[in-house]
């Protein structure tokens, strides 16, 4: 049983990781805490759902389209909201608030579309296969989530370390002015950053909707706060940190249920967050950032 719970925790953590990676990317590159990531998560799940249900689009294509949709919505936010704000001297506070406003708009859109009902992907969407390894069961979708997370991890590493775009993003994260002086087209890089971030969030949304058989307009809510926790615990700007932290959060949740204090999970997770902020504000793997005033 414990082994199964371990698997449950890692799978849950993987979804958190996919979500938080997107979050972290925008935060690191542009110093924007984009609360609307939760709305993008939700809307992408809806896009995939309606594509499959109404137009009978095959799953892999729907997944791809929904992921792209997530990216595009995020880019739209950058162009409509964050860029004008940066141009007018927005602070970290005002960008956070603007993202909250954007999130409200997107979520009320989702509510209107779905009529506030809970939906489920049609049955034949994925093979309902389950593998058993002794005591442990792993369903197809769970395996898919794990595989996707690994692929994304590798992809992110390659992106940030081997590709020009990635290096541009990292330079921007370090110092935007220097990046501009080096001739990096910061506007375009910012758009790409948002696109990738939105795509990751969207991917997480679709996978989650599939895995837990439910798509509804409030599904993103718990993920935003946990995304925060993942960033803090993992360490600002660190990809590995975010992933490890997400796994930790997933496991912490699962094991608080195992030992019977499951409903205190918010206390556990945010207690962890708090402790890190107090004693190790750089998180597990964070670079030395100016965190203290």
């Amino acid at each position: 049983m414990l082994l199964q719970q371990l698997v449950n925790g890692i799978v849950a953590g993987s979804v958190y990781a996919l979500f938080a990676l997107g979050f972290n990317l925008v935060l690191g590159a542009l110093n924007i805490l984009n609360v609307a990531q939760g709305a993008i998560f939700t809307l992408s799940a809806f896009v995939a759902f309606y594509l499959i249900k109404l137009y009978e689009v095959p799953f892999p294509l729907a997944l791809l389209l929904a992921t792209i949709a997530g990216g595009l919505i995020n880019v739209a936010l950058e162009i409509l909201v964050f860029r004008p704000l940066r141009g007018r001297g927005g602070t970290s506070m005002s960008t956070l608030v603007a993202s909250i406003g954007a999130s409200m708009v997107l979520l009320s859109l989702a509510q209107k579309i779905s009529g506030a009902q809970v939906e489920r992907f049609p049955f034949e969407t994925l093979p309902e296969v389950q593998w058993s390894f002794g005591d442990v069961r792993l369903s197809f979708i769970q395996a898919l989530v794990l595989a996707t997370t690994v692929v994304v991890m590798i992809g992110t590493y390659v992106l940030l370390n081997r590709m020009k775009l990635g290096k541009a993003i990292r330079t921007m994260a370090f110092n935007e002015r220097i990046a501009r002086m080096l001739g990096i087209p910061t506007g375009i890089v910012a758009c790409w950053t948002f696109f990738i971030s939105g795509a990751l969030g969207g991917l997480a949304g679709v996978l989650l909707g599939l895995m837990f058989n439910s798509v509804h307009f409030l599904m993103g809510e718990p993920y935003v706060l946990k995304g925060f926790a993942a960033i803090v615990i993992g360490g600002f700007g660190s990809v590995i940190g975010v992933i490890v932290a997400s796994m930790l959060i997933g496991l912490a949740e699962v094991f608080s249920i195992v030992i019977g204090i499951g409903t205190f999970r918010d206390v556990v997770i945010f207690g962890m967050l708090f402790s890190f902020l107090l004693f190790r504000p750089n998180g597990l793997f964070g670079r030395d950032e100016e965190l203290r005033p």
Binding site: M1, Q4, Q5, N8, G9, V11, A12, Q111, G115, A116, Q117, V118, R120, F123, Q130, R137, S139, L208, M211, F212, N213, S214, H216, L218, M219, E221, P222, E253, V254, I257, V258, G262, T263, R265, D266
Partner: protein, 387 residues
């Protein structure tokens, strides 16, 4: 609780209120037409987390109001619904109640969606002496609020108890587990009820697990825990939108032969659609189900299907039923006067309803009395009524 406030209200505001009433009735009198229009306030959760239930209620209530008026059930009196959105929030619930009572001068109130909003808003309706029939809140205690507040549904306590008593010997349960939602007082309360019911039947509770909130979708950890205890039956006390996923995940977690047991919301279309095969064998009580053979219900389902292109669920039924009950009450009262309506609620005796096995109900202690159906879900998704 309300007494002290009421005293304040009457002492401090008699003059103002009297003036307000005078202004109000003058205005109302001016708008009087040949058909007497009776305004009925309908507060519902049309946005926010509980909107999935409130919007269903509204659909069906629209239908019901139309039927009442078009069929001339009340003769020259017409019911005019005044809808208000409480936004799934308590302060707003109190707000709209107050406005329906004072600004819109409704003759009566029918509606409310969520239990905590009922708890906050009904005392206000009582204070303003507006006869109220709440149609969807099943948390216990609402009938104790006052003589102006009646309930068209009742807590599922007795239904669930009866179900457990009925099926335990039938299915020979030895062990049971419970999965419930903590954030919702109705389910937290039912936990106690069901645990007692099982114990009384000699069934051992081997696991109790909680989901924190109505927005949760991942039950794998809790279900893995439960699976380790291998219960014969699993009681699922979650929101309708969570029940389906819970069943599917339960099977995935290894609860292959366990039967699921729940309360009314097992009957919503969402559950069967979402759970599919996993729901086979599920047991639940319901004061209503879509295929109920009652004439009045068959008509309702047909009309609803034609208009909304889907089957009605518990929330729709609750809404529809509440409006029709109110219509009968208004008929007995003979007018839109609040006192007359309150009197009518107290003295009405037997009423027609689409609920229950008998199609008739009356108020007992300001709650409707209902004989529930008991159901088991079959392999093909249809339900079989247990005798």
């Amino acid at each position: 609780m309300t007494g002290l406030y009421a005293k304040f209200v009457s002492r401090a505001r008699t003059g103002v209120l009297a003036t307000a009433m005078a202004v109000g009735t003058a205005v109302a009198g001016m708008s009087g037409a040949v058909a007497q229009e009776i305004k009925i306030g309908v507060p519902l959760s049309l946005s926010g987390p509980v909107a999935f239930a409130g919007t269903k209620m509204k659909d069906a209530m629209d239908l019901a109001f139309e039927e009442v008026n078009n069929s001339n059930f009340l003769g020259s009196m017409k019911l005019v619904p005044v809808y208000a959105d409480d936004m799934s929030s308590q302060p707003q619930g109190i707000n709209v109640t107050q406005q329906l009572a004072l600004r819109d001068q409704v003759s009566a109130i029918v509606g409310y969606t969520a239990s905590n909003i009922c708890q906050a808003s009904l005392p206000v309706a009582q204070e303003f002496k507006v006869p109220t029939l709440q149609g969807d809140c099943v948390v216990p205690g609402l009938n104790k609020i006052g003589e102006y507040v009646y309930s068209a549904v009742r807590p599922s306590d007795s239904f669930v108890e009866q179900l457990v008593a009925k099926v335990t010997p039938l299915k020979q349960f030895k062990t049971a587990a419970v999965l419930y939602q903590r954030e919702n007082p109705v389910f937290a309360h039912l936990l106690g009820v069901i645990t007692e019911a099982f114990k009384k039947q000699g069934v051992k509770i081997v696991a109790t697990e909680a989901i924190t909130s109505g927005a949760d979708a991942d039950f794998s950890a809790q279900l893995t825990n439960i699976a380790a205890a291998k219960p014969d039956v699993l009681a699922i006390l979650l929101l309708g939108g969570q029940v389906g996923p819970a069943m599917v995940q339960a099977r995935q977690a290894g609860l292959d032969t366990t039967l699921f047991l729940g309360e009314q919301n097992f009957d919503s279309s969402e559950v069967r659609r979402v759970a599919g095969k996993a729901a086979e064998g599920s047991l639940y009580p319901s004061h209503w189900f879509a295929a109920s053979p009652l004439e009045a219900n068959k008509k309702f389902v047909e009309v609803y299907r034609k208009r909304f292109d889907r089957d009605p669920d518990t929330f729709s039924a609750n809404g529809y039923n509440a409006v029709w009950m109110m219509a009968q009450i208004v008929k007995k009262a003979g007018s839109g006067d609040r006192e007359a309506i309150r009197q009518a609620m107290e003295t009405i005796g037997e009423m027609d309803t689409i609920f229950g096995t008998a199609g008739k109900t009356s108020f007992e202690d300001r709650l409707v009395s209902l004989t529930p159906f008991f159901f088991q879900v079959k392999a093909d998704g249809s339900v079989e009524q247990l005798q």
